[in-house]
Amino acid sequence: MTTQLLFAGFGGQGLLFAGKFLAYAGLIEGRQVSWLPSYGPEMRGGTANCSVILSDEPIGSPIVLAPDILIAMNLPSYRKFEPMVKPNGVLLVDSALIGEQSARQDISAYYIPATQLASDENMPGLANMILTGKLLSVSPLLKQETIPAAMAKTVPARKQALLEQNLRAIALGRAA
């Protein structure tokens, strides 16, 4: 089984971090994983995205063209990638930033005002992990017990203070 994920939005929203967290979680669960960021000028404020693949087979191309799961955090990315989500795929939208809704009947779409929730809960910059938390509640992608270990790997050693905040954001997203 292979799951292809695409995280898309602006540079600075933590899309690469969220992707890295899922890649580490996959690694801990013994799966093949790849993580590929866009590295163009978009890192400096334009659209940025990150391809993550979790698979039980060796991974060929690391580029995700048709995601099973799309997390969209800005309108240009939503418009670009929503049509590419595979049938029966999952779409997660930060509805605080994206006013549109998908007309597609063949995918499961979830609209979470993640950026607003992050702001309300005094966890700025963690809308990415709120959306990731929602993903983990609607998809059987990962085991619950993997999450803290994967987060410990993803948060840099010198920033371990942020570990709890990130786990709290995931819990918040799960409940959203």
């Binding site: 890649a23 590929l36 163009g40 790997k153």
Partner: protein, 356 residues
Amino acid sequence: MPEKVLMKGNEAIAEAAIRSGCRHYFGYPITPQTEIAAYMAKRMPKLEDGCFLQAESEIAAINMVIGASAAGKRAMTSSSSPGIALKSEGLSYLAGCDLPAVVVNIQRGGPGLGGIQPSQADYFQATKGGGHGDYHMAVLAPSGVQEMFDLTCLAFDIADRYRITSMVLSDGILGQMMEPVTFPEEETLNNAVPVEKSWALTGTHGLRPPNIVNSLLMDPLELERSVVERFARYGEIAARETRWEEMLTDDADIVIAAYGATARIAANALQAARAQGIKVGLLRPITLWPFPKAPLLELAQRAKAFVCVELSMGQMAEDVELAIRCQKPVLRCTRTGGVVPSPDEVLAKILEAAKG
């Protein structure tokens, strides 16, 4: 079982160099290879004898490699396409001086300053010269982050063993992507059998005649002799170090030839074609110089056609045609300028080849 670490391809190259005993790295920033320099900047100062130096230019960096290598040290520099063009004079001098070195090219689109997206358009530059004169580099082409590590270690070994420059030729996809990497348990993986560098400039201490490292030979016969001797070594490298990987080639009517990141995209297309009942295989050169000519020629006796997938206008395709002596058609599936083909584009080319 050693722990698997998630790492960028660029970081894996830097870690491999350190574990291979490289303590002299000279660089200059350029996307998409800057993580190599950043990693070295972080790690080298913490190592005994570790030297990270950001040079004033790419040209300065390669000349520092010449100096460190002449002193018998394992030395490395890295850059991306336009930066490698600047280093080309130094590459030729390294060859002329018979100095071992490792040079990494994380390719981006060209020519000129081009763009920063992935490319394989420096194939000719890497395998046919780059610098002036009769010479070769050993060119290693990883196709995953683990291979970025493994082949960088091998690059140092080949460099020392044959007194040649090894180039790790990769691209922006592999440099930027993260995959799990396992490191060998022994930190000394390459130094188990250190190569004696009796030619190195280490100071005579009054005990031996001075060594001379030089590429200027004014006597044509002497210069010719040095080149011919070097080519005898190239022959040894071709005989011993040619590496490639084959996938499902046993019954293949169509053989894809692809290296690096494009080999991975081709592998997806191969599976899609097999699902349609098309007998397609993949030959992935791991060394681009020496090029795996013999296995390609052998496959040409059974296959109907070849498909070469490249991020260039078709550079390796010429070597495939030479290897198979143009006995079978070689179709090109090429994108350039930083554009990467989708597996569907490769599949379409396979279907075209299958129709004949």
